[in-house]
């Protein structure tokens, strides 16, 4: 890495404020850490082996290590150095995504890879846009309320303390008052608006739609400790070199390592091993040199997200579980969900320059809930996005059929275009599923096949939703509006539930079939709402961690399932996060919950 030039007025510092020492990694310009603080000895058994150090895995690793458990995180990708490995560039960012082969099909096949799958420590939280709305209370009861899909085996109130905790730990920037779902405010101030946000606010306001600006988004609007503020460069989903956007790599992994966790990067899990007494006893994986290794563990938590988690379970089939581990219900891989993510593009007479400001900075959830006046159940959100030139080019290729001179013409007008996105709730369907393909990856492991169809309710929602977003764009003053159908996020495929016949895990992520095998990531979500899943995934992980810590040795020794909600352990938050920021209306549930539980 070259040194800053002498003239600091003409040229700002050359990225990081100080170079990292040998063997230490930059996590943003200020934090530096050695990934190898602790190495367990070969053959040593650990308490928890976590497969996948992403949104959920990073939080679990941090909590369990802080509570004193011996814990290893296996990660298929690298442990990043954000200064050396990340770029302000669309192509340079490609290694952040899961680029290994998967097969996708069905009547409405999902694009995978860059669209929704991360690889490397931090996982998807490295390349998310970092919108962090909560689910609504209604999301946990969609079957009771609307007669569709399924209820969660838990309530919104069970997750609420963890939403509050994670909003401080990331932390989330947002408005002082957020009016939808369970209304609440944010402890850290919102971002200034970019022009895409202005377009959304203007369009919504002219149509009488409530709208919210400046967040909620897990990007620092102001600097806190060693986390710098946002510089509005627009490359959020290419990995935030600035260190302003939260990823578990910079928010939870440093504390995990300092608390004694080990992260083994370039370690691709191939099979979970079932030992005696119907308990798993470790995981086979391929190390960075392609050699197969085995790590012993007293319990295993799979955090591989909605494609790799079911793939690993299915690839771990054994005589006792011929259909795949923890799959006696034939539910592993089923109820895979993506959200409708149509991108609506509007051309404005004036300049927009949508590459400035975070893609995620304004939204409306006015259409989130079921409306009996519409012909479908559930709803959608409208959010800002900010495609950079290559992404925008591909969008107009699809939306307008642009090629040749037409393509060059629209691209020359890049700075006149603005993009908004639909984020719509597609329901969980039995036939939308992950299975194994006949193809194999570079390690010889069968790859995943994702089958995805839209059904009637989904199609009606998408049609209504995209027309609403186009209406907003026109109301904001766009002279031309086009749209492209696509999808965002992945959840489901190992859902939680009370009934072992129709779900894979219980409400804490423990598999119904095997008492010391857990799943904790987006795949456990029974439904998805119209909220970006990242915050919910991390909040579920913090709750599962509190549960595991409360259960102590019982997890390793007993098959008894205690389904009592755990007490939120605020002392497990990364240092300097809890009780920081400004308390807002609608928050403080953590204290109430603790007081209630203390009384009981």
């Amino acid at each position: 890495m070259s040194k800053p030039s002498g003239n600091l007025i003409g040229s700002p510092v050359d990225g990081a404020f100080q170079p990292a020492d040998q063997g230490r990694h930059h996590l943003g310009p200020m934090q530096k850490i050695s990934p190898a603080i602790r190495r367990f000895a070969p053959g040593e058994e650990v308490d928890y082996l976590i497969v996948g150090v992403g949104s959920a895995g990073g939080v679990l690793l941090q909590r369990l290590a802080r509570a004193g458990f011996r814990v290893i995180g296996l990660e298929a990708g690298p442990f990043w150095d954000t200064e050396k490995d990340w770029y302000s560039d669309e192509i340079g960012a490609q290694r952040l995504y899961w680029q290994d082969l998967r097969i996708t099909g069905g009547t409405d096949p999902l694009a995978l890879g860059a669209n929704n799958s991360g690889k490397g420590v931090g996982g998807g939280s490295v390349h998310w846009a970092a919108f962090t709305p909560r689910l609504h209370p209604s999301d946990f009861r969609v079957h009771s309320l609307d007669g569709v899909a399924v209820d969660w085996p838990m309530r919104y109130e069970d997750l609420k303390p963890y939403y509050e905790l994670l909003e401080l730990e990331m932390p989330v920037s947002g408005p002082a008052w957020f009016p939808w779902g369970d209304p609440h405010g944010y402890a850290y101030g919102p971002h200034p608006l970019g022009e895409v946000g202005n377009v959304l606010v203007r369009g919504c306001t002219r149509l009488g739609i409530r709208v919210c600006a400046g967040g909620p988004v897990a990007i620092n609007a102001g600097s806190h400790d060693d986390r710098p503020h946002c510089i509005y460069r627009g490359f959020c989903i290419q990995g935030c070199k600035v260190g302003a956007k939260a990823s578990t790599l910079i928010t939870h992994v440093p504390d995990a390592l300092r608390s004694g966790a080990e992260i083994r990067d370039y370690s691709m899990a191939s099979r979970i091993a079932l030992g005696p007494n119907n308990r798993v006893d470790g995981v086979f994986y391929f190390d960075r040199d392609g050699r197969e290794q085995f790590q012993k563990a007293r319990a295993v938590i799979v955090c591989g997200y909605a494609i790799e988690t079911p793939r690993l379970l299915l690839n771990s089939a054994c005589p006792e579980y011929p259909m795949g581990l923890a799959n006696s219900s034939d539910t592993v891989g089923r109820y895979l969900m993506a959200q409708a993510g149509n991108v609506i593009l509007g051309r404005f007479p004036g300049l927009v320059r949508m590459y400035k400001a975070p893609p995620a900075h304004a939204l409306t959830e006015e259409f989130y809930e079921t409306d009996p006046k519409r012909d479908f159940a559930r709803g959608f959100a409208i959010q800002t996005v900010g495609p950079l030139p290559i992404a925008f080019g591909k969008q107009i290729m699809a939306a307008m059929g642009a090629w040749g001179w037409g393509l060059r013409r629209v691209m020359m007008d890049y700075n006149h275009w603005c993009a908004l996105a639909l984020l719509g709730e597609i329901l969980p369907w039995h036939s939308n599923r992950v299975t194994l393909a006949k193809e194999r990856d570079q390690f010889g492991i069968p790859v995943a096949y994702a089958h995805f169809n839209l059904y009637d309710n989904d199609k009606k929602m998408i049609k209504f939703g995209r027309e609403k977003v186009m209406e907003v764009m026109s109301a904001a003053g766009a002279e031309q509006v086009v749209q492209e159908q696509r999808y965002a996020h992945l959840v489901g495929a190992a859902r939680m539930g009370s009934d072992p016949a129709t779900s894979v895990v219980d409400k804490f992520g423990r598999t119904h079939d095997i008492a010391n095998l857990f799943i904790c990531d987006g795949s456990v979500m029974p439904t998805q709402g119209s909220a970006n899943p990242g915050l919910t995934i991390q909040a579920l992980a913090a709750r599962t961690a509190d549960y595991l810590i409360t259960q102590g040795e019982n997890v390793f020794r007993s098959d008894h399932r205690d389904l009592t909600e755990p007490t939120p352990r605020v002392e497990l938050s990364p240092p300097g996060t809890f009780r920081k920021g400004i308390p807002r209306p609608g928050t403080g549930w953590i204290f109430r919950r603790r007081a209630l539980q203390a009384k009981a």
Binding site: G92, A111, L112, S117, G234, F235, L351, A398, N415
Partner: protein
């Protein structure tokens, strides 16, 4: 006007008022005084190294055969035409695609009705050489520019000319079309010359943007200087009525959301 009479002029965009050909420029587009590369000392070291490599001459092709490369070059000249650029300032497309296919770098998924990308490219080129003789009696490379445009325009609309029916059974036409055009877009719009052309600010770490609203330029960016132009006389690829409506539901692609 008889198309193909003067290949050099017929392929240049026209001034919309005078209807005369616009002479090729070092940098077409509405930001003639803007040069994003001049800002490179404000970029972080890793990004600077990555981006500036794109200014180097392209390495020799390793995936496409010389015959395939010739055909690919013509196809890319249609899909992403650069006749408005001076010859020394055109962005190489084929080497970038060649590199990806040689390295077997994929996007992380494959549609079940598509072969691997390298095979898809070869099949597409074969399809061109089946459709051209079937409809015009000559190989694709011997067709006039306009005839080649006719074939490609039909493929864009997923209405393939006769001759390659067997290939479309093995290859989804809309998906291979978006694969090809998408790869051209990637190759062209990753190059800093194209960023200057469209007025994109480029890498902004660690300096930051400070004027976020109303499309205002940073002090080092420039305002737009528009000119009206028409697509070259022998092209069929300019926007038409159907581009303004939802007429392309068959086209979809991977890429990034959030």
């Amino acid at each position: 006007m008889k198309y193909g009479a003067d290949p050099t002029t017929d392929r240049l965009p026209l001034d919309a008022e005078t209807r005369k050909p616009l002479q090729p420029r070092v940098q077409p587009g509405y930001y003639p005084d803007y040069d994003v590369i001049s800002q490179q000392r404000f970029w972080d070291a890793a990004t600077r190294e990555l981006v500036l490599k794109r200014l180097n001459p392209a390495p020799p092709l390793r995936f496409f055969t010389p015959e395939e490369a010739k055909l690919m070059q013509v196809v890319c000249d249609h899909l992403l035409p650069q006749d408005d650029r001076e010859p020394g300032h055109r962005i190489e497309i084929v080497p970038s695609i060649d590199e990806r296919l040689f390295a077997k770098k994929g996007p992380g998924y494959r549609y079940e009705d598509m072969p691997p990308d390298d095979e898809a490219y070869r099949l597409f080129l074969q399809a061109l050489d089946l459709m051209a003789p079937a409809n015009y009696g000559r190989p694709f490379l011997e067709l006039t520019w306009r005839e080649q445009e006719e074939i490609l325009q039909a493929l864009n609309k997923s209405r393939p000319p006769d001759g390659a029916g067997e290939i479309w059974k093995r290859l989804s036409l809309p998906k291979v079309w978006t694969l090809l055009v998408g790869d051209c877009i990637t190759a062209y719009y990753q190059h800093p010359w194209s960023w200057s052309e469209i007025g994109f600010g480029g890498p902004a770490y660690p300096r930051a943007y400070m004027r976020l609203e109303r499309g205002q330029p940073e002090p080092w960016e420039v305002d737009e200087q528009r000119y009206s132009w028409e697509a070259p006389p022998d092209t069929l690829s300019d926007l038409d009525e159907s581009s303004h409506h939802d007429h392309y539901p068959h086209l979809t692609h991977g890429g990034i959301h959030d």
